[in-house]
Amino acid sequence: MNNMTSPKSVLNTSQLSVYYGSFLALKNVDMAIQANEVTALIGPSGCGKSTLLRCFNRMNDLIPDAVVEGKVLFNGKDLYGSEINPTEIRSRIGMVFQKPNPFPKSIFDNVAFGLKVNGYTGKMDEAVEWALRQAALWDEVSDRLKKSALTLSGGQQQRLCIARAIAVQPEVILMDEPASALDPIATLAIEELIRELKQLYTIVIVTHNMQQAARVADKTAFLMVDDARGGYLVEYDATSKIFTNPSDSRTEAYITGRFS
């Protein structure tokens, strides 16, 4: 798959494996994430899709016994190179988590957090408003920015977390099952938002919901797990191809619901 390393690809992995202690979570993944596209990672639970996602912003560094082997290139630079500062990487590759996790601070302070941490020199109010508008949350919260973020509904909290992530204007946004804790209406709002955001950002989304992948993703990667090998990449292609004409029989079995 090395031929997919086109100038447009933002993230490239080659022979990427992850161990937690002696447990092999992910093995020999090669894939390239294209700019301004939505890439979905699907697969049964335990297949390593969240682990793969966390390799892209070095969140695995925070797990004491995690070991990452192989390469991840970000705009051609080795993400795990010795001169790379993971703190900087994380301000350029944002992340939205499975469960909404706003800080117990005001709505405004949540969005401003990353701006302050990264030494934003412009007008804070404008940047917060911009991010909240981008996350389609501004109209709902503009009159209560000083209220605690915990007063928002689950769907609003998750859009707040998206606003918080995009406030620092990252190049890539990683989303780890961002709608799994939300009701169907809130989920639709998030999906709508993802389609909007890809104009400006490259998005990688982990989802357990295949319809969601079909609705939002340009490309889809299917991962599987078996006991001997840990998680591995089975097939990675345009979403329409994966869902209508997969080349691997295991992919077909999964998307038609024969196992989960």
């Binding site: 500062n85 703190t87 900087e88 301000s91 350029r92 990264n118 030494g119 934003y120 020199t121 412009g122 940047a127 911009w130 620092v168 204007q169 990252p170 190049e171 400006l200």
Partner: protein, 294 residues
């Protein structure tokens, strides 16, 4: 708005990393302050007291002459007080824990009990001494005896034992209780045959730690026993008594250096007892924890 550029973000990555390192260093120093103080204290005590720690120190009575003084009456006083405190406090602590965890209804009275327990744990120990002085020594007319001292210390450590026992009882899995009920056990049988055995190691550990706190206490015991000059081993709970921390206090408060060294020797004895009790408790806790992990 344009995408991220160096104009609007000034991340100061280098200075932030340095600040992080400085902060880490500060935290490390702070951790060391406590540990270093502990180390200095131990070194100071051992270097002052080691040469005074002889057999006759352990087997003689206090004396006006430092080279003849020993702490036997204090050691035996502490043994008496520890045993009686345990006899009073541990059963009551276990009973309270059983009631609060297994029987207690959710009502106003139990809320008051909870608040009361939380506050009792924060009452200064000298206040317990005043309670013992007014209630046990004079009102119940027990006098300034080992019994009055033990009752006072039992009340002092009761909240600690209750807290530890409740945690141990709570840690018994509900599935075990249900399994026993499903075999036709009644509530008392469940408590006797399932809850108590399951909670026993935790209760034991908590009780040992609570008693080790009791034997280190001097303030409430001084309020009860005053500073008496005791040259005999108590033979009954109604005897007058002294305990190791009071004997140590007595020696420290004298100006002559010899007595201060005696105090250091006494501290070594007290700390050895306390550390062995703590080690025993930690040993039991670890043994219990590995068992429940399997």
């Amino acid at each position: 708005m344009s995408l991220q550029s160096n104009k609007i973000f000034n991340s100061h990555l280098r200075s932030r990393a340095i600040r992080g390192m400085v902060f880490y260093g500060i935290c490390l120093v702070c951790v060391c302050i406590g540990i270093a103080a502990l180390g200095t204290l131990l070194v100071q005590v051992v270097s002052d007291g080691w040469s005074w720690l002889t057999w006759h120190f352990l087997s003689d009575y206090p004396s006006r002459h430092p080279e003849e003084a020993g702490m036997m009456s204090a050691i035996f006083g502490t043994l008496w007080v520890m045993a009686m405190t345990g006899i009073f406090a541990v059963p009551v602590g276990i009973g309270s824990a059983m009631f609060l965890e297994e029987y207690a209804p959710k009502n106003k009275l139990m809320q008051i009990v909870e608040i009361n327990l939380a506050n009792l744990a924060g009452v200064p120990s000298i206040v317990y001494g005043l309670l013992g002085l007014a209630v046990f020594v004079y009102w119940m007319n027990i006098g300034r005896t080992a019994l009055a001292g033990s009752l006072t210390l039992a009340l002092l450590v009761l909240p600690v034992i209750i807290l530890a026992s409740r945690e141990a009882v709570r840690a018994v899995p509900n599935a075990h209780r249900e399994a026993a009920y499903a075999l036709g056990a009644d509530k008392w049988q469940v408590i006797r045959m399932v809850v108590f055995p399951g909670a026993f190691p935790g209760i034991l550990t908590g009780s040992i730690l609570a008693l080790s706190r009791a034997i280190g206490e001097a303030a409430p015991v001084i309020a009860i026993s005053a500073l008496v000059y005791i040259t005999f081993i108590p033979t009954s709970p109604m005897d007058r008594f002294t305990v190791m921390p009071i004997q140590i206090y007595n020696w420290v408060s004298r100006p002559q250096e010899e007595f201060q060294n005696l105090a250091a020797a006494g501290i070594i004895v007290l700390l050895v007892v306390l550390l062995s009790m703590n080690a025993l408790a930690i040993f039991l806790r670890n043994k219990y924890q590995t068992k429940s992990d399997e």
